[in-house]
């Protein structure tokens, strides 16, 4: 048959386009916003919900947080899909700036990682002062351990700790080492479900609601230090970027107001992050 196909298609295309424009118009009404590429651990901790409204009230700038793993956040930022990065994998962040993708990196805050597991602790790592030793014990008993497995900051930290423990969990080939390939919260859910040990940042842990009988077993090792940094994506690479608004946010975050808000954010009386921007306090 020879329907007037072309005309039919023209009509379809026109209609779609009209609808599309109409709908995109709604979402593009507000222009004073920036995209912050950040990590699931910071978003899940509730920190952004606590501090971003204050920034918006002061400046009128909306910060839209896209929470992914640090690895993906860095990748997205390289693609120009973010104005500011707030992540926690210092070596990669510095490489990012050196390669010219970012303008400058600032320390913002820190907390620490902890190893969590079931309260009855079948392996007996509770109270160990060194994370490497604890991991080695887990490996030796072949107790289940769930890894993020997603190139996130936490995953990178975990791999560094296995190196200290002189164990290559992927080489050992056992079924005990399980890569979730998911965000922090999902990984915690998986670990709880499997009665497995895992490494988590303290912020996510404190705000996590599905703890069951899980508890912190190892903490306090300097190796477990978790530093967050903020970087303005280089506008020279991506001219469409809102460098001005982004810089304004960074200045606020590492400045006195941002830093004191971070210090003041607690869950059940416990602070989740400790501000340590160089000019902050």
């Amino acid at each position: 048959m020879r329907i007037p196909t072309s005309r039919l298609w023209c009509a379809c295309a026109a209609l779609s386009l009209m609808l599309g424009l109409l709908l995109s118009g709604i979402s593009q009404a507000e222009e004073r916003f920036i995209i912050l590429q950040s990590t699931t651990s910071t978003r899940n901790s509730g920190l952004f919900d606590a501090i971003l409204p204050r920034f918006r009230a002061k400046t009128g700038i909306e910060v839209r947080v896209v929470a992914v793993g640090t690895g993906q956040a860095l990748k997205n930022a390289r693609n120009g899909d973010g104005d500011v990065l707030l992540v926690h994998a210092k070596p990669e962040e510095e490489a990012f700036v050196t390669a010219g993708w970012g303008v400058k990196r600032f320390d913002v805050m820190y907390n620490d990682f902890v190893i969590v597991g079931p309260a009855n602790d079948p392996v007996g790592i509770a109270g160990l002062r060194q994370a490497g030793t604890a991991l080695r014990k887990i490996f030796q008993t072949q107790a289940a351990f769930v890894s993020r497995g997603d190139e996130s900051g936490t995953h990178k930290k975990e791999r560094a700790l296995w190196e200290i423990a002189a164990v290559d969990p992927l080489e050992t080939g056992g079924r005990w080492y399980r890569e979730a390939g998911a965000g922090m919260g999902a990984t915690l859910n998986t670990a709880v479900g499997m009665r497995a040990y895992t490494l988590t940042d303290r912020g996510t842990w404190l705000s996590f609601r599905n703890k069951a009988d899980y508890t912190i077993l190892v903490e306090g090792d300097p190796q477990l230090f978790n530093q967050y940094g903020v970087i303005l994506v280089n506008p020279a690479k991506h001219p469409h970027m809102k460098a001005g608004l982004g810089q304004q946010f960074i200045d606020w975050l590492v400045g006195p107001e941002g830093q004191s808000l971070i210090a003041g954010y607690t869950i059940a009386g416990q602070p989740l992050f400790f501000p340590n921007a160089p000019g902050g306090e």
């Binding site: 048959m1 020879r2 007037p4």
Partner: protein, 256 residues
Amino acid sequence: MPSDVETLQPERISTDPAQSLFPLKVRQLVYNVGKQRLIDGIDLTIEKDRRTIIMGPNGAGKSLLLRLLHGLLTPTEGEICWGETPRVDQARQRQALVFQRPVLLRRSVGANLCFALKLRRYTRAEREERLRHILELASLSHLADRPARVLSQGEQQRVAVARALVLEPEVLLLDEPTVSLDPVSVEAIEELILAVHRRGTKIILVTHDMAQARRLADEVVFLEQGRVVEHSLSRQFFQQPSAATAHIYGSSRVVL
């Protein structure tokens, strides 16, 4: 399927009403499906005025012949010539076909008829006038707003006939239109057929109901295995059927 190409042609086929559709001449018509020869060399001449009834046992090719005449199927060999009209599809524009099982749109009775009316360039007022007229003619006025597909088989077939008639065809082709209908509906449809014939519409009707043939026929074309066995005026056909026809009817136990 070659006929798909014809279904939806971009331009309406222009027809010249001055060109006569008659006599209809069929020459050496053959229609194969695969290797099976279902229509096997039919020669036929049909004049305008008579009510022509095509009869024959099941599988004789009656419905196929009707579809070929109407141009729904393309002959494998041979030709069909509607009077001076050069092409069968041009002739089709001046005909209407009523199928054995009515194909009604999923709409009301009135909307079904309107659908056909919209195929002609009528003004709105003309359309309404014609709609009212045909509804009365087919005694469907009280059903105009009913969904067409919830009606009884007999009523549905009357709608189908009415839809065929709104186009004011010069030829009305009917393919066993009253099979499995109740006697009242059969009578109603036969009356409609006779009425439109009186107004000058050529009737070509396929049936294997001998009684119906007796009631309606001016002439009978009798088919068997894709061939014309007999073509004669009804008086002759019913009183002195040829030896071949009688033999077929005798052997296939079709009620005479």
